[in-house]
Amino acid sequence: MRTTQEDHDATNAYQSLADTVGHDDPRWAFGTGVEDVQAEITSPVPDGVDAADLARYCLMLGDDALICAQRLAEWVSNAPELEEEVALANTALDLLGQARVLLARAGHVEGSGTGTARDEDALAYLRAEPEFRNVALAELPDSLDFGRAIARLLVFSTWRLALLHRLLASRDPVLAAVAGKGVKELAYHRDYAARWTLRLGDGTPESHRRMQAAVDAVWPYVEELFRTSDVERRLVGAGVAVDPADVRAEVDGVLDEVLSRATLTRPTVPPAGTVGGRGGRQGAHTEHLGHVLAELQSLARQHPGASW
């Protein structure tokens, strides 16, 4: 027979939460906290591939997704309508899922042989700004301007979909697996962003003005997306990576189609986001990444190893 105390506990949300995780060990409060036994992560590094390069490449693609997801998540409780909040949060969640696998793979490959593997949480929460390898486009602030969020997502998802579509043939099984799931997700993200670009660009004079301003604001950061880093160049030769320069024509074609249908003008602006030839892929970031990381990491850094 149940005691009064147990009856009381049954209506206690915190108690029921504890019950559902009762079979698990304590979880780290700020990480995923779950020992994720992902079959592919521990696959051997393909023959002829430099482990350090592969780890760095996984970080690049993982950090793009992680930082973009964090920016999208800023819209939770701030979006203009509930439906858009749900859409942006779902998009962020897909990217976060891709980031988790890529960071876990980076940590595993980086630590293989040395016994010092960092897990996905250590890589997300405990790296400093110059250790991040994402492109500047991912870290730009939206400043709660919905048009900016859509413009960035349109460019980011179009570019990433083109990359991942080619990565389906990667010799690295983790990159190929992430691509296999990612192309389906990114096709939805791109369609969502493209439809909003049409609706706002070809809408009222005010929505047109603001959507054009948003496209103008993100456009200087498009050029960086097609720069090939030394790491990528070496891995392309090994059949593992995609040369971002190769996706330019496809990405341009899609963006031109969307912009023209949306009655928007393709900006002609000088590129930004790189300094002295160094950009996000080399760990050189805009002033915005520090703010993203402060929000992303501060709790985990203030309470290292905290669990619940």
């Binding site: 079979h23 698990d24 439906e83 962020a92 969640l93 696998v101 983790v174």
Partner: protein, 170 residues
Amino acid sequence: MSGAVTGVASAREVVAEVLDPEMPMLTLDDLGVVRGVQVDGDSVTVTITPTYSGCPAIEAMRDDIRARLTEAGYDRVEVRTVLSPAWSTDWISPAGLAKLAEHGIAPPGRVPPRAAGPIPLALSAPTAVVRCPRCGSPATEELSRFGPTACTALRRCTACREPFEHVKEI
């Protein structure tokens, strides 16, 4: 009697009956996410695949599988996830499709074969007919591509005016 001695079929059956945490009218078997159940003495290794990359339900599935197998007498349970090949809504069983419809969720259609080359841009809402799960009318419209869970879109029936969820084809 220990569950372990009842063998593979038993562990497989236990796992098959675990419910999906987000669409609890479906079992994990209906959803098509169980890739394998291997029994070795009193230890079991279960392999599942996530629906979407970031689907938070995967952790609840893992906890539930572990809990049910532990109750069934398996002392050591490992739940592994495998990403490739990527899950598709085509893997939802016919029984699962029927259960979704019974519970007011429009089931996914078949995923169309993908042509070679770049994935085409879709600038307007999908034109495939999605019937209202309540009144059966084909006159429904998409409200939002993203519903309350990663795998659903929001739609509305223009005949009976009811909003409903639709499991997106992926």
